[in-house]
Amino acid sequence: MESMREIRNRMISVRKTMKITNAMYLMASSEMKKARKRLAASEPYFFKLQSTINDILNHTHIQNIYFANGKTIPEEEIKRGYIVITSDRGLAGAYNHNVIKLCEERLRKNSLDKLYFIGQSGYNHFKRKPDLAEIEKEHNYAAVKPNLYRARSIAESVVDEYRRGNLNEIYVVYTKMKSALLAEAEMIKLLPMSADMFPGADLTSSEQSSEYEELYEPSPRAVLDNIVPNYVKGLIYGAMIEAYASEQNARMTAMDNATKNAGELVEKLSLLYNRIRQAAITTELAEVIGGANALEEQ
Protein backbone atom coordinates (compact mmCIF):
# COMPACT_ATOMS: atom_id res chain seq x y z
CA MET A 1 0.00 0.00 0.00
CA GLU A 2 1.19 3.50 -0.83
CA SER A 3 2.34 5.56 2.06
CA MET A 4 0.23 8.45 3.30
CA ARG A 5 2.80 11.01 2.30
CA GLU A 6 2.87 9.75 -1.29
CA ILE A 7 -0.88 10.06 -1.60
CA ARG A 8 -0.85 13.52 -0.07
CA ASN A 9 1.77 14.69 -2.57
CA ARG A 10 -0.22 13.31 -5.45
CA MET A 11 -3.36 15.02 -4.26
CA ILE A 12 -1.52 18.34 -4.07
CA SER A 13 -0.13 17.97 -7.59
CA VAL A 14 -3.50 16.95 -9.05
CA ARG A 15 -5.13 19.98 -7.40
CA LYS A 16 -2.49 22.26 -8.91
CA THR A 17 -3.03 20.79 -12.39
CA MET A 18 -6.75 21.22 -11.91
CA LYS A 19 -6.26 24.92 -11.23
CA ILE A 20 -4.34 25.26 -14.49
CA THR A 21 -6.86 23.33 -16.58
CA ASN A 22 -9.68 25.31 -15.04
CA ALA A 23 -7.95 28.60 -15.84
CA MET A 24 -7.39 27.42 -19.42
CA TYR A 25 -11.02 26.45 -19.65
CA LEU A 26 -12.09 29.93 -18.62
CA MET A 27 -9.69 31.55 -21.04
CA ALA A 28 -10.80 29.34 -23.91
CA SER A 29 -14.44 30.03 -23.21
CA SER A 30 -13.97 33.80 -23.25
CA GLU A 31 -11.92 33.51 -26.49
CA MET A 32 -14.63 31.24 -27.79
CA LYS A 33 -17.25 33.92 -27.35
CA LYS A 34 -15.18 36.39 -29.36
CA ALA A 35 -14.38 33.81 -32.02
CA ARG A 36 -18.07 32.90 -32.34
CA LYS A 37 -18.96 36.53 -32.90
CA ARG A 38 -16.41 36.88 -35.68
CA LEU A 39 -17.55 33.60 -37.17
CA ALA A 40 -21.16 34.73 -37.21
CA ALA A 41 -20.10 37.99 -38.87
CA SER A 42 -18.04 36.39 -41.63
CA GLU A 43 -20.06 33.24 -42.27
CA PRO A 44 -22.56 34.91 -44.64
CA TYR A 45 -19.64 36.01 -46.83
CA PHE A 46 -17.95 32.62 -46.67
CA PHE A 47 -21.10 30.69 -47.64
CA LYS A 48 -22.21 33.19 -50.25
CA LEU A 49 -18.77 33.09 -51.84
CA GLN A 50 -19.05 29.32 -52.22
CA SER A 51 -22.55 29.39 -53.63
CA THR A 52 -21.76 32.30 -55.97
CA ILE A 53 -18.69 30.55 -57.36
CA ASN A 54 -20.80 27.43 -57.75
CA ASP A 55 -23.46 29.41 -59.57
CA ILE A 56 -20.95 31.08 -61.87
CA LEU A 57 -19.34 27.77 -62.74
CA ASN A 58 -22.67 26.16 -63.48
CA HIS A 59 -23.24 28.77 -66.13
CA THR A 60 -19.77 28.90 -67.59
CA HIS A 61 -18.51 26.67 -70.35
CA ILE A 62 -15.26 28.22 -71.37
CA GLN A 63 -11.70 27.02 -71.14
CA ASN A 64 -9.48 28.74 -68.64
CA ILE A 65 -6.45 27.74 -66.63
CA TYR A 66 -8.44 28.17 -63.44
CA PHE A 67 -11.09 25.67 -64.50
CA ALA A 68 -10.89 21.93 -64.17
CA ASN A 69 -12.01 21.19 -67.71
CA GLY A 70 -9.34 20.83 -70.35
CA LYS A 71 -5.96 19.33 -69.64
CA THR A 72 -5.60 16.14 -67.67
CA ILE A 73 -2.45 15.20 -65.84
CA PRO A 74 -1.64 11.58 -64.89
CA GLU A 75 -2.48 10.98 -61.24
CA GLU A 76 1.11 10.23 -60.19
CA GLU A 77 2.35 13.53 -61.64
CA ILE A 78 -0.19 15.87 -60.10
CA LYS A 79 1.46 18.38 -57.80
CA ARG A 80 -0.85 19.26 -54.96
CA GLY A 81 -0.62 22.10 -52.53
CA TYR A 82 -2.28 21.89 -49.12
CA ILE A 83 -2.93 24.78 -46.79
CA VAL A 84 -3.11 23.19 -43.37
CA ILE A 85 -4.81 25.14 -40.59
CA THR A 86 -4.08 23.92 -37.06
CA SER A 87 -3.64 25.59 -33.69
CA ASP A 88 -0.39 27.06 -32.39
CA ARG A 89 -0.37 25.09 -29.19
CA GLY A 90 -1.66 21.74 -28.08
CA LEU A 91 -4.04 20.94 -25.22
CA ALA A 92 -7.02 21.11 -27.50
CA GLY A 93 -8.06 17.47 -27.48
CA ALA A 94 -8.12 15.80 -30.87
CA TYR A 95 -8.40 19.12 -32.75
CA ASN A 96 -4.94 19.10 -34.35
CA HIS A 97 -4.81 15.36 -34.66
CA ASN A 98 -7.94 15.25 -36.81
CA VAL A 99 -6.63 17.84 -39.26
CA ILE A 100 -3.20 16.21 -39.48
CA LYS A 101 -4.71 12.78 -39.98
CA LEU A 102 -6.98 13.99 -42.77
CA CYS A 103 -4.04 15.65 -44.47
CA GLU A 104 -1.65 12.74 -44.04
CA GLU A 105 -4.12 10.32 -45.59
CA ARG A 106 -3.98 12.34 -48.78
CA LEU A 107 -0.21 12.67 -49.06
CA ARG A 108 1.65 10.22 -51.24
CA LYS A 109 5.25 9.43 -50.54
CA ASN A 110 6.71 11.14 -53.57
CA SER A 111 7.28 14.63 -52.22
CA LEU A 112 5.47 16.25 -55.12
CA ASP A 113 3.09 17.81 -52.66
CA LYS A 114 3.71 21.05 -50.91
CA LEU A 115 2.40 22.12 -47.52
CA TYR A 116 1.58 25.61 -46.29
CA PHE A 117 0.92 26.01 -42.61
CA ILE A 118 -1.21 28.28 -40.54
CA GLY A 119 -0.60 27.30 -36.93
CA GLN A 120 2.52 25.79 -35.41
CA SER A 121 1.20 22.34 -34.48
CA GLY A 122 0.87 21.18 -38.06
CA TYR A 123 4.28 22.52 -38.94
CA ASN A 124 5.91 20.80 -35.99
CA HIS A 125 4.30 17.52 -36.95
CA PHE A 126 5.25 17.48 -40.62
CA LYS A 127 8.71 18.91 -40.00
CA ARG A 128 9.64 15.48 -38.65
CA LYS A 129 8.41 13.72 -41.77
CA PRO A 130 10.34 15.34 -44.60
CA ASP A 131 9.78 12.42 -46.96
CA LEU A 132 6.03 13.07 -47.10
CA ALA A 133 5.93 16.49 -48.66
CA GLU A 134 7.80 19.69 -49.24
CA ILE A 135 7.20 22.32 -46.58
CA GLU A 136 6.82 25.94 -47.53
CA LYS A 137 8.72 27.88 -44.89
CA GLU A 138 8.03 31.41 -46.00
CA HIS A 139 4.34 31.18 -45.29
CA ASN A 140 4.15 29.79 -41.85
CA TYR A 141 1.82 31.82 -39.76
CA ALA A 142 0.36 31.77 -36.31
CA ALA A 143 -3.28 30.76 -36.09
CA VAL A 144 -4.24 33.40 -33.56
CA LYS A 145 -6.09 36.49 -34.71
CA PRO A 146 -6.93 35.50 -38.29
CA ASN A 147 -6.76 38.50 -40.59
CA LEU A 148 -7.16 39.33 -44.26
CA TYR A 149 -3.55 40.33 -44.65
CA ARG A 150 -2.27 36.82 -43.87
CA ALA A 151 -4.92 35.22 -46.04
CA ARG A 152 -3.94 37.53 -48.88
CA SER A 153 -0.26 36.72 -48.72
CA ILE A 154 -0.86 32.96 -48.71
CA ALA A 155 -3.44 33.28 -51.49
CA GLU A 156 -1.04 35.27 -53.65
CA SER A 157 1.67 32.73 -53.17
CA VAL A 158 -0.46 29.66 -54.01
CA VAL A 159 -2.15 31.32 -57.00
CA ASP A 160 1.27 32.32 -58.30
CA GLU A 161 2.56 28.76 -57.97
CA TYR A 162 -0.58 27.49 -59.64
CA ARG A 163 -0.23 29.85 -62.60
CA ARG A 164 3.37 28.84 -63.09
CA GLY A 165 2.41 25.17 -63.06
CA ASN A 166 4.42 24.36 -59.92
CA LEU A 167 1.17 23.27 -58.32
CA ASN A 168 -1.73 21.69 -60.20
CA GLU A 169 -4.26 21.45 -57.42
CA ILE A 170 -4.75 23.45 -54.27
CA TYR A 171 -6.63 22.39 -51.16
CA VAL A 172 -7.27 23.83 -47.76
CA VAL A 173 -7.53 21.52 -44.74
CA TYR A 174 -9.25 23.05 -41.75
CA THR A 175 -11.83 22.39 -39.05
CA LYS A 176 -15.37 23.46 -39.68
CA MET A 177 -17.98 24.24 -37.06
CA LYS A 178 -20.78 21.89 -38.06
CA SER A 179 -22.99 23.12 -35.27
CA ALA A 180 -22.54 25.02 -32.02
CA LEU A 181 -20.99 21.96 -30.41
CA LEU A 182 -19.70 19.80 -33.23
CA ALA A 183 -16.57 20.56 -35.24
CA GLU A 184 -15.20 18.38 -38.00
CA ALA A 185 -11.99 18.37 -40.02
CA GLU A 186 -12.72 19.12 -43.65
CA MET A 187 -10.82 19.49 -46.89
CA ILE A 188 -11.96 21.80 -49.66
CA LYS A 189 -10.49 22.26 -53.10
CA LEU A 190 -9.62 25.81 -54.07
CA LEU A 191 -8.17 25.30 -57.53
CA PRO A 192 -8.80 24.30 -60.24
CA MET A 193 -12.43 25.31 -60.01
CA SER A 194 -15.20 22.96 -61.03
CA ALA A 195 -18.97 23.10 -60.71
CA ASP A 196 -19.07 20.32 -58.10
CA MET A 197 -16.57 21.96 -55.75
CA PHE A 198 -18.86 22.90 -52.92
CA PRO A 199 -21.44 20.18 -52.55
CA GLY A 200 -22.40 21.65 -49.19
CA ALA A 201 -23.19 25.12 -50.51
CA ASP A 202 -26.86 25.93 -50.68
CA LEU A 203 -27.85 26.59 -54.24
CA THR A 204 -30.49 29.09 -55.05
CA SER A 205 -32.69 26.54 -56.69
CA SER A 206 -34.66 28.94 -58.88
CA GLU A 207 -31.52 30.03 -60.67
CA GLN A 208 -30.09 26.55 -60.77
CA SER A 209 -32.70 25.54 -63.31
CA SER A 210 -32.50 28.60 -65.55
CA GLU A 211 -30.22 28.07 -68.50
CA TYR A 212 -28.04 30.93 -69.57
CA GLU A 213 -24.43 31.46 -70.42
CA GLU A 214 -22.51 33.66 -68.05
CA LEU A 215 -20.93 36.77 -69.59
CA TYR A 216 -17.69 38.29 -68.39
CA GLU A 217 -16.94 41.98 -68.74
CA PRO A 218 -14.61 43.15 -70.13
CA SER A 219 -13.26 39.66 -70.91
CA PRO A 220 -13.28 36.28 -69.14
CA ARG A 221 -9.55 36.42 -68.71
CA ALA A 222 -9.42 39.90 -67.23
CA VAL A 223 -12.26 39.11 -64.84
CA LEU A 224 -10.91 35.74 -63.74
CA ASP A 225 -7.37 37.04 -63.24
CA ASN A 226 -8.88 39.48 -60.78
CA ILE A 227 -11.51 37.44 -59.03
CA VAL A 228 -9.65 34.15 -58.62
CA PRO A 229 -6.97 35.49 -56.24
CA ASN A 230 -9.73 37.31 -54.40
CA TYR A 231 -11.85 34.20 -54.13
CA VAL A 232 -8.90 32.11 -52.91
CA LYS A 233 -8.13 34.76 -50.32
CA GLY A 234 -11.75 34.94 -49.19
CA LEU A 235 -11.98 31.19 -48.78
CA ILE A 236 -8.70 30.96 -46.87
CA TYR A 237 -9.81 33.78 -44.60
CA GLY A 238 -13.16 32.12 -43.97
CA ALA A 239 -11.43 28.82 -43.23
CA MET A 240 -9.07 30.55 -40.79
CA ILE A 241 -11.99 32.01 -38.89
CA GLU A 242 -13.89 28.72 -38.84
CA ALA A 243 -10.77 26.94 -37.64
CA TYR A 244 -10.07 29.45 -34.90
CA ALA A 245 -13.56 29.13 -33.49
CA SER A 246 -13.28 25.33 -33.68
CA GLU A 247 -9.95 25.46 -31.90
CA GLN A 248 -11.33 27.43 -28.98
CA ASN A 249 -14.30 25.11 -28.86
CA ALA A 250 -12.05 22.02 -28.81
CA ARG A 251 -9.81 23.49 -26.14
CA MET A 252 -12.77 24.46 -24.01
CA THR A 253 -14.20 20.94 -24.15
CA ALA A 254 -10.81 19.31 -23.55
CA MET A 255 -10.03 21.51 -20.55
CA ASP A 256 -13.51 21.04 -19.12
CA ASN A 257 -13.03 17.27 -19.29
CA ALA A 258 -9.57 17.53 -17.77
CA THR A 259 -10.91 19.58 -14.87
CA LYS A 260 -13.71 17.07 -14.29
CA ASN A 261 -11.27 14.17 -14.38
CA ALA A 262 -8.94 15.89 -11.95
CA GLY A 263 -11.88 16.45 -9.59
CA GLU A 264 -12.77 12.76 -9.70
CA LEU A 265 -9.17 11.78 -9.13
CA VAL A 266 -8.88 14.05 -6.10
CA GLU A 267 -12.04 12.49 -4.70
CA LYS A 268 -10.71 8.96 -5.15
CA LEU A 269 -7.35 9.85 -3.68
CA SER A 270 -8.85 11.52 -0.63
CA LEU A 271 -10.99 8.44 -0.03
CA LEU A 272 -7.90 6.26 -0.23
CA TYR A 273 -5.98 8.66 1.99
CA ASN A 274 -8.69 8.63 4.65
CA ARG A 275 -8.89 4.85 4.57
CA ILE A 276 -5.15 4.47 5.08
CA ARG A 277 -5.20 7.08 7.85
CA GLN A 278 -8.05 5.25 9.57
CA ALA A 279 -6.19 1.94 9.23
CA ALA A 280 -3.11 3.50 10.79
CA ILE A 281 -5.14 4.84 13.74
CA THR A 282 -6.80 1.46 14.23
CA THR A 283 -3.45 -0.28 14.26
CA GLU A 284 -2.08 2.21 16.78
CA LEU A 285 -5.14 1.78 19.01
CA ALA A 286 -4.86 -1.98 18.84
CA GLU A 287 -1.23 -1.69 19.86
CA VAL A 288 -2.02 0.58 22.82
CA ILE A 289 -4.85 -1.69 24.02
CA GLY A 290 -2.67 -4.75 23.55
CA GLY A 291 0.08 -3.07 25.57
CA ALA A 292 -2.34 -2.06 28.34
CA ASN A 293 -3.78 -5.60 28.52
CA ALA A 294 -0.33 -7.05 28.76
CA LEU A 295 0.48 -4.73 31.69
CA GLU A 296 -2.76 -5.64 33.53
CA GLU A 297 -2.06 -9.35 33.22
CA GLN A 298 1.29 -8.99 34.92
Binding site: Y45, K48, T52, H59, E156, E214, E217, V223, Y237
Partner: protein
Protein backbone atom coordinates in the same frame (compact mmCIF):
# COMPACT_ATOMS: atom_id res chain seq x y z
CA UNK B 1 -41.26 54.03 -58.34
CA UNK B 2 -38.52 52.63 -60.50
CA UNK B 3 -38.15 48.89 -60.91
CA UNK B 4 -35.91 47.35 -58.32
CA UNK B 5 -33.74 44.27 -58.03
CA UNK B 6 -32.32 42.51 -55.01
CA UNK B 7 -28.86 43.61 -53.96
CA UNK B 8 -26.72 41.54 -51.63
CA UNK B 9 -23.58 43.36 -50.57
CA UNK B 10 -21.39 41.20 -48.35
CA UNK B 11 -18.05 42.14 -46.85
CA UNK B 12 -15.78 39.58 -45.18
CA UNK B 13 -16.75 40.81 -41.74
CA UNK B 14 -20.45 41.58 -42.14
CA UNK B 15 -23.54 41.77 -44.32
CA UNK B 16 -23.35 45.37 -45.50
CA UNK B 17 -26.65 45.59 -47.35
CA UNK B 18 -29.32 43.11 -48.31
CA UNK B 19 -32.42 44.53 -49.88
CA UNK B 20 -33.99 46.19 -52.90
CA UNK B 21 -32.04 48.54 -55.12
CA UNK B 22 -32.90 50.68 -58.16
CA UNK B 23 -29.46 51.50 -59.49
CA UNK B 24 -26.07 50.13 -58.56
CA UNK B 25 -22.80 51.65 -59.71
CA UNK B 26 -19.68 49.61 -59.00
CA UNK B 27 -15.99 50.23 -59.61
CA UNK B 28 -15.03 47.53 -62.15
CA UNK B 29 -11.58 46.91 -63.59
CA UNK B 30 -12.21 49.07 -66.65
CA UNK B 31 -14.19 51.87 -65.06
CA UNK B 32 -17.54 52.33 -63.40
CA UNK B 33 -20.27 49.87 -64.24
CA UNK B 34 -23.96 50.57 -63.71
CA UNK B 35 -26.59 47.92 -63.09
CA UNK B 36 -30.37 48.38 -63.20
CA UNK B 37 -33.22 45.88 -62.91
CA UNK B 38 -33.38 43.44 -65.80
CA UNK B 39 -29.66 43.57 -66.51
CA UNK B 40 -28.21 40.63 -68.43
CA UNK B 41 -26.37 38.01 -66.34
CA UNK B 42 -22.72 38.92 -66.06
CA UNK B 43 -19.68 38.34 -63.84
CA UNK B 44 -17.47 41.29 -62.98
CA UNK B 45 -14.32 41.91 -61.00
CA UNK B 46 -14.63 44.59 -58.36
CA UNK B 47 -11.71 46.96 -57.84
CA UNK B 48 -11.18 48.97 -54.68
CA UNK B 49 -13.11 52.20 -55.08
CA UNK B 50 -16.43 53.91 -54.50
CA UNK B 51 -19.69 52.04 -54.81
CA UNK B 52 -23.09 53.72 -55.06
CA UNK B 53 -26.56 52.28 -54.80
CA UNK B 54 -29.87 54.06 -55.13
CA UNK B 55 -33.04 53.11 -53.32
CA UNK B 56 -36.21 55.24 -53.23
CA UNK B 57 -34.36 57.98 -55.07
CA UNK B 58 -31.76 58.20 -52.34
CA UNK B 59 -28.16 57.36 -53.19
CA UNK B 60 -25.93 55.69 -50.63
CA UNK B 61 -22.16 55.60 -50.95
CA UNK B 62 -19.57 53.19 -49.65
CA UNK B 63 -15.87 52.55 -49.99
CA UNK B 64 -15.27 48.95 -51.03
CA UNK B 65 -12.25 46.71 -51.51
CA UNK B 66 -11.44 44.18 -54.22
CA UNK B 67 -13.97 41.49 -54.86
CA UNK B 68 -16.37 39.95 -57.31
CA UNK B 69 -19.84 40.74 -58.56
CA UNK B 70 -22.37 38.37 -60.01
CA UNK B 71 -25.41 39.76 -61.79
CA UNK B 72 -28.22 37.29 -62.48
CA UNK B 73 -31.72 37.83 -63.73
CA UNK B 74 -33.20 38.62 -60.34
CA UNK B 75 -30.36 39.57 -58.04
CA UNK B 76 -26.91 41.08 -57.76
CA UNK B 77 -24.32 39.66 -55.38
CA UNK B 78 -21.33 41.78 -54.42
CA UNK B 79 -18.61 40.04 -52.41
CA UNK B 80 -15.81 42.27 -51.23
CA UNK B 81 -12.95 42.48 -48.72
CA UNK B 82 -14.47 45.41 -46.90
CA UNK B 83 -17.33 47.88 -47.25
CA UNK B 84 -17.52 51.06 -45.20
CA UNK B 85 -19.93 53.97 -45.05
CA UNK B 86 -18.51 57.47 -44.91
CA UNK B 87 -19.10 57.82 -41.16
CA UNK B 88 -17.31 54.53 -40.48
CA UNK B 89 -14.11 55.49 -42.24
CA UNK B 90 -11.09 56.43 -40.19
CA UNK B 91 -9.83 59.31 -42.35
CA UNK B 92 -6.56 59.80 -40.49
CA UNK B 93 -5.73 56.13 -40.82
CA UNK B 94 -6.59 56.16 -44.53
CA UNK B 95 -4.38 59.20 -45.10
CA UNK B 96 -1.51 57.54 -43.27
CA UNK B 97 -2.02 54.40 -45.37
CA UNK B 98 -1.99 56.50 -48.53
CA UNK B 99 1.29 58.18 -47.60
CA UNK B 100 2.83 54.82 -46.69
CA UNK B 101 1.72 53.25 -49.96
CA UNK B 102 3.07 56.14 -52.03
CA UNK B 103 6.40 55.84 -50.29
CA UNK B 104 6.53 52.12 -51.00
CA UNK B 105 5.72 52.66 -54.68
CA UNK B 106 8.57 55.16 -54.94
CA UNK B 107 10.97 52.73 -53.27
CA UNK B 108 10.33 50.20 -56.12
CA UNK B 109 11.73 47.21 -54.28
CA UNK B 110 10.23 44.50 -56.49
CA UNK B 111 7.16 43.89 -58.61
CA UNK B 112 5.21 42.18 -55.83
CA UNK B 113 5.74 44.95 -53.29
CA UNK B 114 4.80 47.62 -55.83
CA UNK B 115 1.62 45.70 -56.65
CA UNK B 116 0.79 45.45 -52.94
CA UNK B 117 1.44 49.14 -52.45
CA UNK B 118 -0.74 50.03 -55.43
CA UNK B 119 -3.58 47.92 -54.05
CA UNK B 120 -3.18 49.58 -50.66
CA UNK B 121 -3.12 52.99 -52.33
CA UNK B 122 -6.37 52.43 -54.21
CA UNK B 123 -8.04 51.25 -50.98
CA UNK B 124 -6.83 54.35 -49.16
CA UNK B 125 -7.96 56.67 -51.96
CA UNK B 126 -11.39 55.04 -52.05
CA UNK B 127 -11.81 55.60 -48.32
CA UNK B 128 -10.57 59.18 -48.45
CA UNK B 129 -12.89 60.07 -51.35
CA UNK B 130 -16.02 58.63 -49.78
CA UNK B 131 -15.20 60.16 -46.43
CA UNK B 132 -14.33 63.67 -47.69
CA UNK B 133 -17.41 63.92 -49.91
CA UNK B 134 -19.65 63.82 -46.85
CA UNK B 135 -17.58 66.43 -45.06
CA UNK B 136 -17.90 68.80 -48.03
CA UNK B 137 -21.67 68.47 -48.26
Amino acid sequence: MARTFRLELLATDRVFYNGPCELLVIPAIDGEYGVMAGHEPVVLALKAGELRYTIDGKTEEAAVGDGLVEVTGERVTVLTDFAERADEIDLIRAQAAKARAEERIKARKDAASVAHAQAALSRAIARIRVSSRVVNK
